[in-house]
């Protein structure tokens, strides 16, 4: 059974200028253990789709199944971890207490919280930074804290909305490598929003190319790249072939309403 199943999903925002169709008739299926990237031009609704899966937006029509139930049920069950575009750390909490925030809300014991924080901060290479406050960290480190926070309550599903969008190229590539290793180790289902082609190809088992607003799925590309990927692979023919197909999809999607 798929972790996420969307069929004919449409979402309309009510704005002062009238209704705005953000998603139109989206079909999407994500299997357990998939790493799925949503890629598309700005404003194509990829973030909206992710937010709908997270029950942060309400679809206007269509069906959406998350973890075998409704999106709302999945949220109430804390069935997913969400990583936002910005780290969204609470500045009055130190790194450790930011990571343990969801655990406090879920009522875990103090010992268990500390143990989890140590484990997941170590996983994102931030051991030793427990007592620092967010403003004392770089942007990349802050985003890693927010990933540790999303992992800390051990959801099987990870929703990531352009988590590295605000970072420089080098940091971004470094964190891509780390994320891939993390995914190998945990085998969580990941849905990853990006507008970087190389990031999408490098990370994903499946790439969903979305077209311009109103957002719809233009193409779904299965990646046949091996599981243990390295940054050098980006120059191989297999990598470039997939990247090319993504680019073609994006260009076709772009010209959609031109």
């Amino acid at each position: 059974m798929p972790v996420i199943h969307a069929e004919g999903l449409s979402l309309e925002f009510q704005t002062p200028d009238g209704p705005l169709l953000a998603l139109s008739d989206v079909d999407l299926s994500v299997e357990s253990g998939d790493f799925v990237s949503l890629i598309g031009p700005s404003g194509c609704g990829k973030t909206t789709l992710l937010r709908a899966i997270a029950d942060l937006e309400q679809p206007t029509s269509g069906t959406l199944v998350v973890n075998g139930g409704s999106a709302r049920q999945a949220r109430l069950n804390r069935g997913y971890g969400y990583v936002f575009q910005a780290p969204a750390l609470y500045p009055w909490r130190n790194v450790e207490r930011n990571v343990t925030l969801p655990l406090e809300i879920m009522g875990l014991s103090k010992a268990e919280r500390r143990e989890r924080a140590a484990r997941y901060l170590d996983m994102v290479n931030l051991a030793g930074f427990e007592r620092k406050f967010p403003w004392q960290l770089s942007g990349g480190m802050q985003q890693r804290v927010s990933i540790a926070r999303a992992l800390s309550f051990e959801p099987d599903l990870l929703l990531m909305d352009e988590p590295f969008g605000a970072l420089d190229e080098i940091t971004r590539e470094h964190l891509n490598g780390e994320l891939l290793r993390l995914w190998h180790r945990t085998r969580k289902t990941v849905i990853f929003v990006t507008h970087s082609i190389s990031e999408a190809v490098f990370l994903s088992t499946r790439i969903v190319v979305m077209s311009r607003r109103p957002g719809r799925v233009h193409d779904v590309i299965e990646s046949d790249l091996p599981d243990d990927r390295t940054l050098d692979m980006r120059d191989t023919e297999a990598f470039l072939k997939i990247a090319h197909r993504v680019r073609e999809g994006l260009e076709a999607g772009h010209s959609y309403d031109d």
């Binding site: 949220r75 804390r78 809300i105 403003w135």
Partner: protein, 307 residues
């Protein structure tokens, strides 16, 4: 030199380092200039009464006599700073602490009313702000009344409160605290409403993804986000609560409190008493605000603030 000692990056400076970092020389210069102007102003201000006395006593007076006398006359229009200092010292340290001539006594009376009123204002203000933020209808229905309450001059409403409470047998401390509360809650409601609404959409979404309940939203997000606003509004609130307590002491012709000292000083035309009471009120306000600032500093150390 007064060069600031820059804290090492990533490390908050200690409270004492921050104190000593303040620039002493410019402050002292301004103070000296200010005192100089004051002494100079005392001469023309007091000239008339002193010359009148010279004429009455039929003395030949010189400029140096006028200057000397305008800085030492016992019932001046504008007393010189050292006269106020002497009077203040006398009424603080040289009187029995429970006598009505002791400013310590009056300060304690006013201070108690202020603190009680401020304490109630803080609770009331925070509770109102919480209600306004969590219940949408309260925002619409209460806010206009809260703002209206502050447009009525306190001088008009204070006697009404005192008479009304007095007719119910409540006198002394409580009516004064009520007026302090009336003035002091306003900046706290406004500041806390703003503070509780300060979390950005992302921070709110994060709590939603944890399916946090309303209480958890408050405890983990809205409350800690509002704390900087809280301290700012508490500082405004306590200063204005002191004004409320002093104003509340005027209409009854109260026998105790800094407001009463001001009133009796003005009835008697005793400028020295008025100035001393004013200085005491300023010292009282500064020490109360200082305490809040200390609490703010200790809290910001705990929450990693860049102070």
């Amino acid at each position: 030199m007064t060069d600031a000692i820059e804290p090492s990056p990533g490390k908050a400076p200690s409270f004492w380092a921050r104190l000593s970092r303040r620039r002493g020389v410019p402050i002292a210069t301004i103070l000296l200039v200010f005192i100089g102007i004051w002494y100079a102003a005392a001469i023309p201000m007091n000239r008339q009464v002193i010359v009148q006395r010279y004429t009455l006593q039929d003395v030949d007076w010189t400029t140096s006599m006028l200057i000397r006398d305008s800085w030492s006359y016992s019932r001046p229009i504008l007393p010189a700073p050292h006269q106020i200092a002497v009077h203040l010292f006398d009424s603080v340290f040289m009187q029995k602490i429970n006598s009505r001539r002791s400013l310590v006594f009056h300060t304690r009376v006013t201070g108690t009313a202020t603190l009680l009123g401020f304490f109630l204002a803080a609770i009331f203000g925070i509770a109102l702000a919480t209600g306004i933020v969590f219940v949408r209808t309260l925002d619409r229905s209460l806010m206009p009344w809260i703002i209206t309450s502050q447009t009525i001059p306190i001088l008009a409403i204070a006697p009404m409160i005192i008479v009304a409470l007095g007719s119910m047998g409540i006198r002394g401390l409580i009516p004064k605290a009520v007026i302090s509360l009336y003035l002091g809650f306003f900046p706290i409601v406004i500041g806390m409403t703003k503070g509780l609404r300060s979390p950005d959409p992302l921070q709110l979404d994060l709590m939603r993804t944890y399916s946090a309940d309303k209480w958890q939203f408050f405890r983990y997000l809205r409350w800690p986000a509002s704390v900087p606003f809280l301290f700012t509004s508490l500082k405004v609130g306590i200063a204005i609560a002191l004004v409320g307590a002093i104003v509340a002491e005027l209409p009854t012709g109260a026998q105790a409190g800094l407001g009463a000292s001001l009133l009796s000083g003005s009835y008697a035309g005793n400028m020295l008493a008025i100035w001393s009471a004013l200085v005491m009120a300023a010292i009282l306000a500064m020490s109360m605000i200082g305490l809040i600032q200390l609490a703010e500093f200790l809290n910001s150390k705990r929450t990693g603030g860049r102070v």
